[in-house]
């Protein structure tokens, strides 16, 4: 039971961080390797605002999201959009994103050092839940993650901008032909995708130690979740994230904890071999 709870908590974090990665991948056709480091960046900004500036964690959460969105929007305007204009190859984009990942991670390391950090919040006893303990923080993570998933669902299915974001990730040429201002919708995709990644990062900081590499190590489970759920399918990604989170935690019952991350890798490899379109089909 304890493992299931832990799995759901980490699964919801993987799910909401992976959605942005998947949307960007499907829309711009490249893997943003810096995605995980945006997650860590958000956790550090929240830590900074909460611990060093002394604001409430809820406010720090919003500050972190805004800061991450801002960074993402500047990246889009300064790097990605000009690169698209130049028709840069996919390889070039991936290499830039890896470079940016390194810069971001080392900046965090440089400013805050390599030691682990945590928010300034009281440690409280957890609740008993069918013989397992569930902490306040875990409850918070699950609640906030589900609220965000619901908001995302509303955005994607009920609002014009959300529908246009789906249209772009489905068929960007047709979106352009329909007269949609593609650059503007891409900007929104970054804002929403990184907003979710940032929320995931702040939440992750509630249940794990904040380290510069925390996001980078989350990248593999994110990929696994995306592949499991079908690339570009946000609902599949959510389900995939849950499955990966659960299987990672449950594996610790039989395997040493160090192998936890290998589970994502195995799940991903098996999926690619037997059903590359994902359990729930891609957006195609």
């Amino acid at each position: 039971m304890q493992l299931i709870i832990n799995g759901l908590v980490i699964g919801s974090i993987i799910a909401i961080t992976a959605i942005g990665l998947s949307m960007i991948y499907k829309t711009l056709n490249f893997v943003n390797f810096a995605h995980g480091d945006f997650v860590a960046f958000a956790a550090y900004i929240a830590f900074f605002a909460n611990k060093e500036l002394g604001v409430h964690l809820a406010v720090a959460f919003l500050i972190a999201i805004l800061a991450t969105m801002l960074l993402g929007v500047s990246m889009e305007k300064v790097v990605w959009r000009p690169m698209r204009r130049k028709k840069a190859s996919r390889t070039a984009l991936i290499i830039i994103s890896i470079g940016f990942a390194l810069v971001l991670r080392n900046t965090l390391l440089f400013i805050w050092g390599g030691s682990t950090r945590c928010y300034d919040i009281p440690v409280r006893r957890g609740f008993d839940f069918f013989g397992a303990t569930i902490t306040h923080n875990q409850v918070l993570v699950i609640i906030v993650a589900f609220i965000l998933m619901f908001l995302l669902h509303y955005l994607l299915s009920r609002t014009m901008i959300g529908k246009a974001m789906r249209a772009l990730s489905d068929n960007i040429d047709l979106a352009r032909i329909s007269g949609i201002n593609v650059d503007q919708v891409i900007l929104w995709t970054w804002v929403i995708g990184l907003g979710l990644a940032a929320s995931g990062g702040v939440l992750y900081g509630l249940v794990t130690a904040i380290r510069p590499s925390m996001g980078w190590y989350l990248l593999l489970p994110m990929f696994a979740a995306i592949i499991l759920g079908g690339i570009g399918n946000p609902y599949g990604t959510i389900a995939g994230g849950m499955v990966i989170g659960l299987s990672q935690e449950l594996s610790t019952a039989v395997l040493p904890t160090e192998y936890k991350f290998a589970v994502s890798f195995v799940v991903m490899a098996v999926m690619l071999l037997i059903k590359p379109e994902g359990l729930f089909g891609g957006a195609k």
Binding site: M160, A164, I177
Partner: protein
């Protein structure tokens, strides 16, 4: 009528060099892909209310011409005039606003969006209420009203084509570009498509159509152009081309 305080006949001054019954004029266009010219000086014209066909062998640049007209490719030379305004090199978004619609050859619908969402995307740039546009599209394709909530990817080929048409018709374009509208459809659905093209044209939309099924499309066209290797080869009235021996032999399979 006055627009921004300028009489609109003055507004068009200087741009209207040609006969104002022309809705589209493509003048000696050179364009293509990144470092490869495909069109080497193509000229075509469409008069208001006409159906015009473009035919030619595979790879002759028919689709490239449509993409060029719609602002999707860089134009290296020549000029495109739409409704008296020079639209050479402007973005698709502005071309859509000026009243042109385009149903591309492939992937002409958003497969993961519902039918209704596909139509909404066709009117994305409109600030007005789209219910009237929806009504109008549903009158032409009643099936789309029934299947509004179904994912376009799950529809039959014929229905998917209707979604593509419907999306392009949402803003009531004055000119509609159709790239191989009957390709890959069962004979019955082809009849439906050609019927709808005539219906759309009768309601006042000029149409530029590229077709493999050249005989069929020339038969409903006022005029036609034959392209070869990115150049104009023949042009004439639809029925004239259908009777031209060279055209028959070369492109219509005898």
């Amino acid at each position: 009528m006055y627009i921004w305080g300028v009489r609109d006949d003055e507004w068009g001054d200087g741009l209207m060099e040609n006969d104002d019954t022309m809705i589209l004029e493509v003048d000696n266009i050179v364009s293509g892909y990144t470092d490869l010219d495909i069109l080497h000086g193509i000229s075509i014209g469409i008069e208001s209310g006409e159906i015009v066909s473009i035919i030619g062998p595979n790879g002759s640049g028919k689709s490239t011409l449509m993409k060029t007209i719609f602002g999707l490719l860089r134009i290296r030379d020549g000029r495109i005039v739409f409704k008296g305004e020079d639209i050479t090199g402007i973005m698709p978004e502005r071309i859509v606003r000026k009243g042109m619609g385009y149903v591309p050859q492939e992937k002409e619908f958003f497969s993961s969006l519902t039918v209704l969402e596909n139509l909404e995307m066709g009117a994305f740039i409109s600030d007005c209420d789209i219910s009237e546009s929806l009504e109008r599209v549903y009158r032409i394709f009643p099936v789309l009203a029934e299947k509004g909530r179904i994912r376009a990817g799950a529809l039959s080929g014929g229905e998917q084509r209707m979604v593509g048409f419907g999306r392009a018709l949402m803003l009531s374009p004055d000119l509609l570009l159709l790239d191989e509208p009957s390709a890959g459809l069962a004979p019955k659905m082809r009849d439906m498509v050609f019927g709808k093209i005539i219906e759309i044209n009768r309601s006042g939309t000029s149409i530029l159509i590229v077709e493999q099924n050249a005989k069929r499309s020339l038969a409903i066209s006022d005029r036609g152009y034959v392209l070869e290797m990115g150049r104009n080869r023949f042009e004439g009235a639809g029925c004239e081309l259908l009777e031209n021996e060279d055209v028959l032999r070369l492109y219509l399979g005898g």
